[in-house]
C-alpha cells in the first residue's frame, strides 16, 4: 500500500500532446478514479505510473519514493490493460500465475500458494471454469476478466486498472463494480481506476479526477464534483443526461434566460450574482432532473415548449423539449410522460442551479 502522486507530467506522441502539466495525488488505500472522455490521456497516465512509458517531463511518486527512473518490474504495481494484453499461447491459468512466477519478482511463492491464489481470483471473477482455455477461446468479456485477474492475483503497492470492465455486458459490469469496490475495501490496496463512464466513477470512487485534453479539469470527492462542477466541461460530462447550459442575463430581481424565460431568484443568490457578473451575460446550468413537466398555461408553468424527442430509460424518461428560443433536456417519470409533439409547461427548481462565466466557462461561486 502506498500513496501515489504525479507531478507536472508532460507527454507528447509526435504531433499529439497527450499530457499537459498533469498533477494529482492519490492517498494511501484510496479508490481513485481517473475520469475523462476518449483521448483524454487516461491510458497514458496509467502507463507512466506503471513505468511502461517515460514522461517527457514530470515526476511520479510511489509512497515516499520518486520512481520516475525505476523500471516497471521494480515498481510493485499491477496493471490491468484495457486491451487485455494476454499471452496468446498460454492458458488462463498460466496467464494468471505468471506475474507470481516471473523471475524479476522478489516475492517467491510455493506452487501450492500460486495455485491457491490463481483459483481464488478466477472464482472471484467468475472464470474458474475457464482456467485451461487459451485466450483465443474466450469471449471479449472473459478475456477482460482474465486481464483484471492478472492484476488482482498479486498484492502489490498499487493496482492500476485501465478501463477494466469496459467490455463486459451491462449486467456483469454492474455486478463487477460492486465486487471491485468490495475487493478494494478488503485488501485496502491503493487503486487507480480509469473510466470514460461518469456513473462508474461516481459510484466507485473515494476521490476522483476529471481530465480532458491531458489536463486536470477538477479533482475532488464524487459528491463535490457532481454538486459543484468547476466549469462547463465538468458540468456537462458528469451527470446523465448532461446538464442544460443556457445563456442568461440578470434582469432586476429575476434571471432572464435565452431572452424568454424569467426566473425569479432568491434575493441572496441574486445579490451575490449581481456583484460578480456586473451586468454581463452568464451561463446558467440546470440539471434535467431539476426541471419539472407541468400543465401548459397552468399556474406553475414558467415556460411552454413542445416535446421533440422521448428517450425511455425504464422508470424515467428523458425528453428533449423546445420552443423558438430554447432547447432543454428534461428528466421525468415514464408514467404519465407527455407524448411526442405535445405542448407542455415547465417548472424550474432553483435549489441547485449553477452559474458559469460566459467567456471562461468557469464556475461563478456564489458562497
Amino acid at each position: 500500500m502506498a500513496k501515489i502522486m504525479v507531478q507536472n507530467l508532460w507527454k507528447r506522441y509526435g504531433e499529439l500532446q497527450a499530457l499537459q502539466d498533469l498533477s494529482f495525488k492519490c492517498a494511501e488505500g484510496q479508490f481513485f478514479c481517473l475520469l475523462g472522455p476518449a483521448g483524454a490521456g487516461k491510458t497514458t497516465t496509467i502507463k507512466i505510473i506503471a513505468g511502461i512509458e517515460m514522461p517527457d517531463r514530470g515526476e511520479v511518486f510511489l509512497g515516499d519514493q520518486c520512481v520516475t527512473d525505476i523500471p516497471p518490474w521494480d515498481r510493485d504495481v499491477a496493471v490491468a490493460f484495457e486491451t487485455y494484453a494476454l499471452y496468446p499461447q498460454r492458458t488462463v491459468r498460466e496467464n494468471l500465475s505468471f506475474p507470481l512466477r516471473a523471475p524479476k519478482r522478489k516475492e517467491k511463492l510455493s506452487e501450492e500458494e500460486i495455485e491457491k491464489r490463481v483459483v481464488e481470483v478466477a472464482n472471484l471473477l467468475g472464470i474458474g471454469e475457464l482456467l485451461d482455455r487459451l485466450p483465443r477461446q474466450l469471449s471479449g468479456g472473459q478475456r477482460q476478466r482474465v486481464a483484471l485477474g492478472r492484476a488482482l492475483v498479486r498484492k502489490p503497492a498499487a493496482y492500476l486498472l485501465d478501463e477494466p470492465i469496459a467490455h463486459l455486458d451491462a449486467k456483469l459490469r454492474h455486478r463487477m463494480r460492486g465486487e471491485l469496490k468490495r475487493i478494494q475495501r478488503e485488501l485496502g490496496v491503493t487503486t487507480i481506476y480509469t473510466t470514460p463512464d461518469q456513473l462508474e466513477a461516481l459510484s466507485l470512487a473515494d476521490y476522483m479526477v476529471v481530465i480532458n485534453g491531458g489536463k486536470v479539469e477538477q479533482a475532488g470527492p464524487p459528491g463535490e464534483i457532481y454538486e459543484r462542477p468547476v466549469n462547463v466541461f465538468v458540468a456537462r460530462f458528469v451527470g446523465d443526461p448532461p446538464m442544460n447550459i443556457l445563456r442568461a442575463t440578470l434582469d432586476g430581481e429575476a434571471l432572464l434566460v435565452q431572452g424568454i424565460l424569467r426566473l425569479p431568484l432568491p434575493s441572496a443568490t441574486q445579490q451575490a450574482l449581481a456583484q460578480r457578473v456586473n451586468g454581463r451575460e452568464v451561463l446558467f446550468g440546470i440539471r434535467p432532473k431539476d426541471v419539472r413537466v407541468v400543465a401548459p398555461s397552468g399556474e406553475e408553468a414558467q415556460l411552454e415548449a413542445v416535446v421533440d424527442h422521448i428517450q425511455v430509460l425504464g422508470a424515467t424518461s428523458v425528453l428533449t423539449v423546445s420552443n423558438e428560443q430554447i432547447s432543454l433536456r428534461v428528466k421525468t417519470s415514464t408514467k404519465g410522460a407527455p407524448a411526442h409533439g405535445e405542448s407542455i409547461g415547465l417548472a424550474f427548481d432553483l435549489a441547485s442551479v449553477h452559474f458559469f462565466d460566459a467567456e471562461t466557462e468557469k464556475r461563478i461561486a456564489l458562497d
Binding site: 513505468g51 494476454l86 523471475p103
Partner: protein, 292 residues
C-alpha cells in the same frame, strides 16, 4: 448489375494470357506424360502408351535419388533460412530509423535472379581465383574443388540458396514484428518477464503465423529448385545435386525424352499442389482466427 455484361471482356486479356502460358503448356505436358515421345528413339513417335512412363518411374532408382537430393537440400536450407531470417528480422525491426536505409541493400540477393546468384557462388567458390575457394583450399578445410566434390557440392548449393533467400524470410518476419501489438510487451514488462521469456511468451506466438507463411512459401519454392543447381553443378558431380526438377530437365532436354520428362514433372506438380493446398488452408485458418 449492368457491369456484369462487360465482365467477360475485362477478364479476357488476363484469361488469354493464363491460357497461353500456363494452361496450354500444362495440358501439353500432361498428355505427353501418357505418350512415348522421344527424339532419340525412332519408335517413340508420340503414340499413346497409357501409364508406361509412370510405371517406369516407379522402378527408376535415379528418380528416388532425385527426391532424396531434394529433401537433403530442402530441410537444411529451410531450417537455416528460418533461423537466420528470424535473427535478421529481429535486428532489422530493432534498428534505429537511420539504419533502416540499409534494409534495401540487405535485400539485394533476393532481388537478383537465381542464375546470377548461382554464378556468384561459382565464382566465389572457384579454387583458383574465388575468395572462399582459395581460402578453403589454403586452410586445408576442403582440399578438393568444392563444386566438383560429391560431398561438398550440395552444402555449397544450400549455402548459396540461403544467401539468396534469407533476406526474403527476414522481410516477411520483420513486417510481422513491426505490426505486433505493444501491449503484451508492456504487460510482460510489468510482470517482470526476462527477455528470453518475453521472446517465447510474446514474440514467437504472435509472430508464428508470419513464420509459418514464410516457411511454407520457401518449402514450395525449394521443391522445384532448378536454376541455382543448374548453374552451379548441372546436378553433378554424378547425381549428387540432382534434384527432381533437374532430373526432369535432363530427361526432357538432354535425352529428349518428352514422355518420361513430362511424367516426372507431373509427379513434382502433385507434390507442390499438396503443399499449396496446405498453405492455403493455413492462411485461411489464420484469417478466420484473427488476432488474439
Amino acid at each position: 448489375m449492368r457491369s456484369k455484361r462487360y465482365i467477360t471482356w475485362w477478364v479476357l486479356p488476363a484469361g488469354l494470357l493464363f491460357l497461353l502460358i500456363i494452361l496450354v503448356p500444362f495440358i501439353t505436358a500432361l498428355t505427353y506424360s501418357f505418350r512415348a515421345f522421344s527424339f532419340t528413339d525412332s519408335t517413340a513417335t508420340g503414340q499413346f502408351v497409357g501409364l508406361d512412363n509412370y510405371r517406369k518411374l516407379v522402378f527408376d532408382k535415379d528418380f528416388y535419388n532425385s527426391f532424396k537430393v531434394t529433401f537433403l537440400y530442402m530441410v537444411p536450407a529451410i531450417v537455416l533460412q528460418g533461423a537466420l531470417g528470424l535473427i535478421m528480422a529481429l535486428v532489422m525491426s530493432s534498428a534505429v530509423r537511420r539504419a533502416r536505409i540499409l534494409i534495401p541493400i540487405m535485400l539485394l540477393p533476393t532481388l537478383l535472379t537465381p542464375v546470377v546468384i548461382g554464378l556468384v557462388g561459382v565464382l566465389v567458390l572457384n579454387p583458383d581465383f574465388g575468395v572462399l575457394g582459395i581460402w578453403l583450399h589454403r586452410t586445408g578445410l576442403i582440399k578438393e574443388a568444392v563444386l566438383g566434390s560429391s560431398k561438398w557440392a550440395l552444402p555449397a548449393v544450400i549455402l548459396v540458396d540461403t544467401y539468396q533467400w534469407t533476406p526474403f524470410v527476414a522481410v516477411i518476419l520483420a513486417a510481422g514484428l513491426l505490426g505486433l501489438p505493444r501491449e503484451p510487451y508492456e504487460a510482460a514488462e510489468v510482470d517482470g518477464a526476462s527477455p528470453l521469456q518475453t521472446f517465447f511468451r510474446v514474440t514467437m506466438p504472435l509472430l508464428w503465423p508470419y513464420f509459418v507463411v514464410a516457411m511454407l512459401i520457401r518449402i514450395i519454392d525449394a521443391f522445384r529448385i532448378f536454376d541455382i543447381i543448374w548453374v552451379m553443378t548441372h546436378g553433378g558431380p554424378g547425381t549428387a545435386t540432382e534434384a527432381v526438377a533437374v532430373y526432369a530437365y535432363r530427361h526432357t532436354f538432354r535425352y529428349w525424352d518428352f514422355g518420361y520428362g513430362s511424367a516426372l514433372i507431373m509427379v513434382l506438380f502433385v507434390f507442390i499442389s499438396i503443399m499449396v493446398e496446405y498453405l492455403y488452408k493455413v492462411l485461411q485458418r489464420w484469417q478466420r482466427a484473427g488476432a488474439v
